[in-house]
Symmetry: D2
């Protein structure tokens, strides 16, 4: 009962990794937006696996179909529904290890929660596959944000502890049958001052919630983040000045958000991803039925690092939240 | 329009720092809970300023009144309303600096957002004072959680970069008219397996959102958190084993949550607080009306470090979220 | 968990008939609204019992206190909290008949639902007393609506089947220890075209839901309502014409709403109230503990007819819903 | 932003009359429910047009596809998505009368609301076609309710003012190019005592809201409904007695709901439908661009009476709401 995100710009997710497909319903998109299919396809391509050594060999074309909400290429204010059919599905590996939960995955808590009735094939509802729908919603959100001068972007900050040459770091992990994590930084430029709501609708709080919805995320921080815990107030506070007639801060330790409201400075968030849970090395688990120990050798198709494909995901979640807040201040909802 | 937190156990916050008082409405508390006023008072006392060198000199007794929802000392299923009158109010300092926003505070974005119509006295709705109501709600939530064997606690991990002897670290900051931040770790023991909802109601995502609602929070991480970004999958994955007939993990790098669901292991979250924004040192700001530069010397009553008083706040936000999720699985709502 | 009404203009109700008092939190009121205390008091006076033969002898002054959200007499965008203390409370009658549910009241289903833990004194949470808070919220909503040219009013259409001289109809009921029902018609003038949302946020659907929240309501209809079921399409359809440069309909059988959207014509709704359930005549009930039949003679302080005092309630619920929809189209939420 | 109904059992509607198709996402369906496709098909067949003189000639097979949420024929707790492709589409009539709003339809307010950007073909989002998705959701809800012994059914009470032989009444309307309305009564048997929530989540209020979401509904009443406004309290109150060890009322004037809670007696609701707005007789409208008067002769494919096809719709909306409330009391949400 928690597959919807947003208050005004509402994104409802459906679909599983090995079911008929993945979809998303977007409710609250203003009428008259020209849907740019190329941009959506480009964002999906950035998330798509099967493109290189650092990504999963699953071959998906991610052709999406628009099931509702568009007339003559433009939104009508009716809910948009996008659907991507799953094509390249092989569930056999999951049948074999049905009762041997993979360490680091949601297998075990999901099995307990749903009494074994959950769709376990390919991670089912917990698969990163479902985020394809979120990328589409994020792409629409970015198109709305562009119209009001807000630009969202994300980039890799580090992988496996290194800030450069991280492709080699991933290759090393692949060689040893291991996986690595990393950090992505997202930035939003052009935000108006005062986006966000006190006290339970803070901009950073809603962004954090959306970003923690992404698979493998273990930490979120804004501005100086955890480093701010070691700073003095005199170091951390951002002084105000006037530049070009506009009030700005001389530094941006806050990362563009104070008291849950945007300050007009660039919004900066960093997201920590744990290493991918699926590794080729043998791991210890138990059989859920017999409670006997089992040495698991995960096979299938996986990324050794979640970070490269997660860049458009961070952008998408940021864009969805920022679009939701932006629409609250627009007279869009006649 | 964002002063309510929770889906089943709903907490609505109202009140300002220098208004008549601070309150909270709690909707969704099951009938028949004996309200332990002593426990509430004890939690409020831990949050209360004016108790030592590390806290604000504001003198508040935090006597609370129960305005609704209780009959013969027990809840009735009707909404509970708690109210704490503000007593020790001096708004004069805020009148003087009405148009000179304090660096690090929400003054500037709030002024822009509300066209200067917001309650600016004592930080108004952005004041940490409003969290007194959340402590009450958290105390009720802890009383409900205790009944199902869940215990929530928090402790200071570091202040100003030091893990021990941090009282001295605060004293040093006071001497130089400065402030320091720090990190609090929260733990929930006794959680059932499978609390949380995929995909937009993940346990960690909802906890992060609630914790980012606390003033001065700049980062939230679970388990290994940001450190996990530098670990290998073979290091980070928690192997399963059976202990005392129960399935557990041999390590708990995940911090008790996988795929947004509780694993049954202790839930561990760390929260980074920036240093308090109000410092005695002169700071650069501008006059919002004249746009002239102003050197601000903040006076008033402030804590040099937000962390000591925030310990019960971290507990409160964790308890509110965990209670909300727990009630979803109980047959409480006849 | 259902004490909040509205999406943007959110009204949270708390309090019981015989508890400390009755209150309401209003979240989403734009900043800068001058609170007219006289208008609120006047609306409360229209709802107040103890004013004549047709109303309950309970003596309440309905003095309200503003607990939050106002600075210098104006709203600040922070949640407003209003509170009315209960004064004239006599719960003795309720103690006596604790286990003999009154026919027509919520006593029996509430007792079963809450295992006897509900506040039963004076009807507790089910008492019409709680609507005092809604009148305050409605009064605020009317003040907001006035600013955009929308006027909400309600009047008695019939009581006990008669359209005139209904005060005598009530007096007759009092004489025989009986009670009567009636119908109230509410009208909203000055609505813009297109208020409301397809498909699950229709203007009439949301109004009906709010009006059915009032005690004793058994039917709601718009325009011709139930009579439309007996009309031909050629009779019922409202033809369009241009009058004074404005598009209007020559008739208004629809009651100002088509497809869930306002048409710009007066919105007309009729609300049917059953007779008050508390009557002086003996009634058959059972003892919930012994399951023995009991002849109940209700004593206490009750109105013989719910309709006169419900006129400001119908206005209040209409205003709350219309304000909620109106704010969605305004650029109020910076 | 209002295309979702329900709090626990959440139904999100998408699709338009002349777009790719009609769909529904159902979030909150417990895991392990065997989806009975035959029952869904049977409910859809009852709603389908093109079956006789009283229904529209549009030929739709209503074959639905399950896009998500099912594994081996059973629900998994993941959101269900159902989709019905539109096949028999002819939009030419709508192009011609784009700027001449049909009396009684949402054409005019929708045009104003969306600045002409709405999907106008076949009524677009306002078409009764969208209710096909709701029938599917209602069918699922009925399957859940059956498991707890709740049965929902609806029947025609009157059409065009006559209680019998109403097929002839419809035929007469067709002959004169006119349309007729009518009344449907819905009944829910087997409800537990205490379903519903005070004060803004009353069972009757939520049912009314859902039923007013259906096209052409102008009135909703429970039990004696509008007739209760003319009854005395001594007539209307339902006395309690014990029958077979169970507490029941000797009459059921209340229609099974008191104070917003189910009483355990049959829940009875009546829904008034206006005559279909599309008629063959000429009607007066205006051209929205020129503001010149236009005599409109509606052509296309329409039902002369909305009532026969609305019977499964009334059942569906009742089932969706009752399922939502029922799941709140079940320990379904682990």
């Amino acid at each position: 009962m928690s597959n919807t995100l947003g208050k005004i710009f509402q994104v409802t997710s459906f679909g599983e990794s090995h079911g008929p497909g993945i979809g998303v319903v977007i409710d609250g998109c203003p009428a008259g937006l020209k849907i740019d299919r190329e941009k959506i396809a480009a964002d999906l391509a950035r998330r798509r696996p099967g493109q290189g050594p650092a990504t999963s060999p699953r071959n998906e074309s991610d052709d999406f179909e628009i099931l509702s909400g568009v007339l003559n290429g433009k939104t009508t204010s009716a809910p948009l529904c996008f659907f991507i059919r799953n094509r390249d599905i092989d569930s056999s590996a999951y049948e074999e290890r049905r009762f041997t939960p993979r360490p680091g995955h949601a297998d075990y808590p999901a099995y307990v929660k749903y009494d074994g009735l959950e769709d376990y094939r390919g991670g089912g509802r917990f698969s990163a596959r479902v985020t394809a729908g979120w990328v589409i919603a994020g792409s629409i959100a970015k198109q709305i944000l562009e119209k009001i001068g807000v630009r969202v972007s994300a980039k890799i900050v580090e992988i496996g502890g290194v800030q450069e040459n991280w492709e080699r770091r991933i290759a090393e992990a692949v060689e040893t049958g291991d996986s690595v994590g990393g950090i992505i930084e997202g930035v939003a430029d052009g935000l108006p001052v005062g986006l966000g709501e006190p006290v339970f609708g803070k901009l950073d709080a809603e962004l954090a919630r959306a970003l923690f919805s992404l698979p493998a995320v273990k930490g979120v921080e804004f501005g100086e983040g955890f480093a701010s815990a070691r700073m003095l107030g005199s170091e951390h506070n951002d002084p105000y000045k006037v530049r070009g007639g506009k009030i700005v801060t001389t530094t941006n330790h806050a990362g563009g958000v104070l008291g849950g409201l945007s300050t007009g400075m660039p919004l900066i968030v960093r997201v920590a991803f744990k290493p991918v849970s699926s590794i080729a090395q043998p791991q210890q688990t138990i059989n859920l039925q017999t409670k006997e120990p089992v040495t698991l050798k995960t096979e299938g198709r996986f990324d050794p690092c979640p970070v490269p494909r997660a860049v458009p995901l961070v952008e998408a979640m940021m864009a969805i939240v920022l679009c939701d807040f932006s629409l609250r201040r627009q007279a869009c909802f006649k």
